[in-house]
Assembly symmetry: C2
Homo-oligomer: 414 residues x 2
């Protein structure tokens, strides 16, 4: 495990900063002006468009309001930019040009870091799949028969992937519980979170082109935290046989900083032992998961945050590389800016479940929050936050916030 | 029903031309040069970029290689351009400027007419849903309990929506039949078509914004033919519980000309009687389906085409407007260039089924093609073509081709 790389920006050397020089994630910011690409260092945002304009970085579209052009330039460009930024920010390398391109993190607006071209959600949490199967169908047949063979997934909705901090309204939908004669249309009463990681596809494939797990891993630009907000009652009524649709389509929140594969390299780890042998095209070829500590806090209006979940990305059964190899396996073309949700990350014990559905076992066992409020599902005004970092030796690689507050349903139609 | 509107371009006045002046669909073409927007008239393609440059049309991005800018301009722009083109092409209105912008249809390349932002596939064919439910699950519970209440759908894959004429390879995938101990990875042996119509979303909505059926109908720019190619064996193993994914992701073919709502106005008709009352937000508000004759031909290599299906768009249970209203109902933002597949259109009788799965009843009853070949599912080198037109009084409104030929699976991985 590598040590902290010291920066001339002091706050980056704090062992609890999410943004040491070892990290160098990519995002998009504005400071009362046009959005453009940035990196984060300590408590600062570094304007990459300014560095590009000053000739300190090659032209990779850093003046654009999204990372897609840069990502599409490929691995060599990603590595060169990382090296160059490391050189510019290393302890002792302070220059006016770089200092002039810094902004205090608290003074900027962070935007969706890339244009999400398409969004696919996977289902790689074994415990989550087991728990949901028990609750939605039948404990005796909880894990679907294909689960241990295929990293199954479904296409999600890209148009409502939003950056941390974006508020949204409680979704309306068709609801029909087991006791109801007729369905009705109304606000979801079982609004939930899903703690996930998002893998960002940097390099595309052509239609008809299949890829190995190694090629898939190479294509990934980096990772974000991802909350796949879910309306469990809308989901229960709509999902057979075509899968989840409106239940997921109202909002998905991601963190604003895409943490690169390079920054996560020291934290690679293996997937768990295979319960059944995988087919060759998705077999594990090396450590493709990451040791990333994850947690979720829930905050009732006016109260302090309560930690409701603590787990790790390495609790998953399948890696993003396996999911991506599967995604292209029929010849499905992948594109720069595609986003892949890992699936809800739940560990095996209480306290490690990545959704309220599991934590409260379908609403049967309410949880108690700081300030005394109890919850089964999300109530109006609640704030849910995902937190994550990879713990190094004297430093950590963080992702930034992944926060959302739920507003009441909209009364009007438009 | 209106009569033929006569054009100074004679071939447009032929009662069997798909492109009379009553139609004026929109597409994208090139003639050895850069792709740009066009309309079709008789056996000609009319270059709209040239007309825009000559000041005969307002600047609506017709010089771009996609219709998205024009569609995003809104209904008033769509209507004004239709009126202007009608005036320019009306019998007696011949000018050099317009004549100079014409190309023979046979001399041009037609491209994907718009950038498909996201693609959603619905399931509004009652007979199809019943047939598939019987084959995939259980005849006693063939129609899912939610089917008569919700115009259910699932997100599809936009990256592999291609224009008519695009060849593609037989998809590979994980396969596990009822008799197999273990799954295997190999070429699909049950490759199929799905006869559908595609509705093209012209006007967007915001996240959180719900829409009425009337507002949804207003948002639709026009319609295309759509073949939702499907790998039934990949589908059977992967689809529970998250829905179809790789089974559909390898290719979807659409016709090159988007036929506008205005051209289809004389052909509006009602949905069938409701078996169960619909909730208010998706209730029928008027005639939102269209009377469009549809057929499918299948051509074995070296043989003549065989018609294998003949039906009508009005066999569907739900309209595109209802599907779109449902799609936005949770607050899901819709965007210009979103594509909505209707779902497979199957009538109640033999000869009207829109998929080989149904025509051959899961492969049990082979069909015989011209030249003597028999088929259960698609074989390498087969060509499948969807055909459609709305029949007026002495004219028809056509869609152009929707054709695909299946190549053998790719042996190499990349």
């Amino acid at each position: 495990m590598t040590d902290l790389v010291r920066s001339w920006i002091e706050t980056a050397n704090d062992p609890e900063s999410p943004f040491p020089l070892n990290n160098l994630p990519f995002g998009v910011f504005s400071a009362g002006d046009a959005p453009r690409c940035a990196t984060a260092i300590g408590d600062k945002v570094l304007d990459l468009a300014a560095l590009q304009k000053a000739g300190l970085l090659p032209d990779h579209g850093f003046d654009e309001p999204a990372l897609n052009t840069f990502m599409g330039e490929g691995k060599q460009a990603w590595n060169e930019v990382r090296e160059k930024l490391t050189d510019l920010l290393r302890d002792g390398a302070e220059t006016d040009a770089v200092r002039d391109a810094l902004h205090d993190m608290g003074n900027v607006t962070l935007h969706l870091p890339f244009t999400v071209i398409e969004y696919t959600d996977f289902y790689a949490g074994r415990q989550h799949a087991f728990n949901v199967g028990s609750l939605f169908r039948d404990p005796a047949n909880a894990l679907p028969p294909n689960w241990l063979h295929i990293p199954i997934g479904y296409n999600g909705r890209a148009s409502t992937v939003v950056v941390s901090g974006t508020e949204f309204h409680r979704p309306m939908g068709q609801l029909k519980g087991p006791q109801d004669d007729q369905p009705r249309f109304g606000p979801s009463q079982r609004l939930d979170i899903e703690l996930e990681m998002g893998a960002v596809v940097g390099m595309p494939t052509e239609m008809g082109q299949r890829i190995s797990v190694d090629q898939a891993d190479d294509m990934i630009f980096g990772y974000v935290l991802l909350n796949d907000w879910s309306a469990r009652d809308i989901q229960a009524w709509e999902y057979q046989p075509l899968g989840p649709f409106q239940a997921k389509a109202f909002a998905t929140t991601i963190s604003p900083w895409v943490v690169t594969k390079a920054a996560l390299e020291p934290f690679r780890c293996d997937t768990p032992p295979r319960e059944k042998e995988l087919l060759p095209h998705i077999k594990d070829t090396g450590p493709m998961l990451y040791d990333i500590d994850l947690s979720v806090t829930m905050t009732a209006p006016g109260a302090e945050p309560t930690e409701i979940c603590r787990t790790n990305y390495n609790a998953l059964y399948y890696s993003a590389a396996q999911q991506l190899a599967h995604h292209a396996s029929s010849g499905c073309a992948m594109r720069t800016g595609d986003l892949l949700g890992s699936g809800t990350i739940s560990g095996p014990e209480k306290g490690t479940f990545g959704s309220l559905l599991e934590m409260t076992w379908g609403g049967k066992n309410p949880i108690t929050l700081e300030g005394g409020a109890t919850r089964t599902f999300i109530e109006d005004g609640d704030t849910l936050a995902l937190h994550g970092h990879a713990q190094g030796d004297g430093y950590r690689v963080g992702f930034g916030p992944c926060v959302g507050t739920v507003l009441p349903e909209r009364a009007d139609r438009s």
